[in-house]
Amino acid sequence: MNATTSAALVLAVMVAAYAAAKALKVSTEISLFAAALAGALAGGSGIPARHIVEGAFTYFDIVLIFVTATLFMNLLKESGAAVFVVRAILRRFHRHKAPLFVLLTLLLLVPGALTGAGSVTVLIMGGMAATVLGTMDIPKPKVAAIIFVIAGLSAAAPPVNLWAMLTAAGTNMPYVGFFLPLLVPCVVLALLTIFILGWKSKPVDLEKALAELPEAPPKMNWVRVSFPFLVFSLLIVAGRVFPFSFPILGLPLMFAAAAAAAFILSPIKLAFFKTSRDTIHQLLPLIGTLTCAGILVQVMALTGVRGLIAITTVTLPITVVFLTLFLTLPVSEAVLMWGAAPVLGVPLVLLFNTIGLNPVVALAGMSVIWPLGDAIPPTAIIGRLTTTTVGMKEPYTKFLKYCLVPAVLIAVVGTLMVVFSKKLAFLTVF
């Protein structure tokens, strides 16, 4: 049996195992693990304990970043900082739709940008943003679409973009130069989304909005809100300005320090251990997905399936690759979540690099498209999380319909970034 047939058979077994697991209503992470296990058995590797455990640690550092950053965000929410900022913005800008939309967009972008997870944006800011948008008479499916799309873009926004980090790691490419290629499209597309979907809304009913939002603790102020972010920024700057005298902390400890600052400065007593437990509980499905995606990738490499996908991808006509990015990236995300980055992202970036495109800008373009898959079954974790958070009762398809226009815009912008990545290389300054 030649290499292609052998790897194709293993791939078929993996797909069948995944589909069977999903049909049995098994969670995504366990379905990924089932696919990996079936692949190893079909590939003649038995149950490869070493590879399973080694693969499980592939994204360990990213998991730590994810956990500490989300703890930081959750402590900020519990302390009342998030609602304090939303109420302040509402009071100041309730009569001015444009600045209100801009500030709301920026608030929605921050949690996902820092953690790399759109779900954190939905959980931290989604409810409050939905309250504000609801008082502007925007229907709930539309509100959910606004929050979902911006949450996806927040996950793609710098500094933490897990798709880009995972793909860069798989191609021996430094995760450097991504800041502007990710920031510019994410901010522009997020603003376009809220303005397109929310433009026909009424002005905010301030009284109603303030009544519906939780009260901020009386002692909360801008110093308490901004100091934890300042701590995080100072640690980043110190590591870059004094790299040979400042100890290496790593991003997880930096987020933990920011979380500690949020805890200490909170005007109300926070239940630290309860928030920690809740954070882990909230993140378990996503941590599980990252862990099992690592195992799956390791088994794919072991059995030759990764090579089959890679060689098939890099030998396709380039026009076909460009024209199908809008489909292949979201679908791979819907099936594998972040596992899509090492499986599909790595060969694509190698292909783009070989044909002379700028790999950083091209990968940034792909990273903007990937989160769209989070609304598509079988996983659709973030899409469903958003509709639940907003309290949408309408059919899920109605929410998907409102996502369509921004999704097309995102797909077009992302694809153009890939195609014209060489011309956009000036963005990769830092």
Partner: protein, 383 residues
């Protein structure tokens, strides 16, 4: 309850079996039979105290001739996932008879990196080179120091002393941390110790053995610091005409920092060279990842990538066997030394006993590995 117990038992079984495998590969002892010219075996820690006792306090095999001459440093295992480099260094340490000059050989420059395999890469933990006496097992290793020895990574890695911004993970890459930093990380300290060795022993030429994926543009070449450009060009010319294979020459870029061919040349009086051989095992398009691929270098998918013009080195169904890759390294070093010795008689390094490319391709690498059972165990060294 039963479900939880079953899952816990499965997890515990995985942890035990995987843990045993990790422990065995981290502590695998690789015997070295010191060759006829090994006068002593020093440690890297002898050149920089803070490395002493760490995982990277590795053996430095000192091969000395009766006549004084030049001094050469051979570095194997800078990236242990490139095994031809370690094996070429091994062959020098076990076989070379030095008539003139000295050769310092480090078999595992980053021992820490040799104790871990690539997460997500599905590398085998070890591989065995067949020999007439049964075979010798080697650790596989990775490109980066083991996170158990150096962790966490910074948000961004700034190279010392240039402050060039590099990928965060490369703070654990020995070939991105030269010339090293005395109060830095384990990897930076290891580089500093090697640079100190070059300075103190007045090394004339430092040669770093590597392998590369075929999708990487710097391949099948000698990367030379400007001080060694003429030497490398002459060696390339001679090799192409007499050794049975072709090798190119690349100038060490001044803008790319931390690499041995740039920094050792800049920081010391030595000429620094880096040798690259092709290793299909490292290609992202590779198929099944196993020991066979590592040793034969045969892979249908990489061949397909080559047919589509996506590679920087040729490959066909014969692959790139380990014997060819190791032979390229030994012959390249021998040619470099012959040219150097001809041009610098006072600093000549003259040796015999080291197989050339054609010898290794004909006999296999295993023919030049010494059987550890044939000598007094007290005289053995371990990597």
């Amino acid at each position: 309850m039963t479900r939880k117990a079953v899952i816990a038992a499965f997890g515990a079984a995985l942890a035990i079996f995987a843990g045993l495998s990790f422990y065995r590969s981290r502590h695998l002892r690789e015997p070295v039979v010191p060759g006829p010219s090994v006068s002593r075996v020093a440690h890297l820690g002898d050149y920089f105290g803070p490395i002493k006792g760490t995982v990277n306090d590795v053996n430095v095999y000192v091969l000395e001739g009766k006549e004084p001459g030049g001094t050469i440093l051979l570095l194997g295992g800078t990236h242990p996932e490139e095994p031809a480099g370690r094996l070429a260094a091994w062959i020098f340490a076990e076989n070379a008879k030095i008539a003139k000059g000295r050769i310092f050989v480090i078999l595992t420059a980053n021992r820490s990196a040799s104790t871990v395999t690539r997460l997500g890469g599905a590398y085998p933990p070890d591989f065995t080179i067949p020999t007439a006496w049964g075979g010798q097992k080697f650790r596989m290793g990775d490109r980066w120091s083991n996170p158990l020895d150096q962790w966490p990574d910074p948000e961004v890695y700034l190279h010392y002393p240039t402050r060039q911004e590099l990928a965060y993970v490369d703070i654990r890459n020995l070939n991105r941390a030269f010339p090293g930093r005395p109060n830095g990380t384990l990897t930076e300290k290891t580089c500093y110790a090697i640079t100190e060795l070059v300075r103190r022993e007045k090394v004339d030429i430092a040669i770093d053995f590597h392998e590369a994926e075929l999708q990487y543009p710097v391949i099948s070449t000698i990367v030379a610091h400007q001080k060694g450009a003429d030497l490398a060009a002459a060696a390339s010319m001679f090799i192409s005409s007499v050794e049975g294979f072709a090798i190119g020459v690349e100038n060490s870029p001044k803008a790319l920092r931390g690499l041995s061919h740039r920094e050792i040349g800049d920081a010391t009086d030595a000429i620094s060279l880096l040798l690259e051989a092709p290793e299909p095992f490292l290609d992202a398009t590779r198929g099944r990842t196993d020991r066979k691929l590592l040793l034969t270098g045969k892979d249908d998918f990489v061949v397909r990538a080559g047919k589509r013009g996506l590679l920087f080195e040729k490959i066909d169904e014969k692959g790139w066997p380990i014997d060819i890759r190791v032979g390229r390294h030994t012959s390249t070093v021998l040619q470099i030394l012959e040219i150097w010795s001809g041009d610098n008689p006072a600093k000549a390094v003259v040796l015999s006993g080291v197989p050339r490319y054609t010898d290794i391709v004909r006999d296999g690498v295993g023919a030049y590995l010494k059987d550890p059972k044939t000598i007094d165990p007290a005289k053995l060294f371990y990597e």
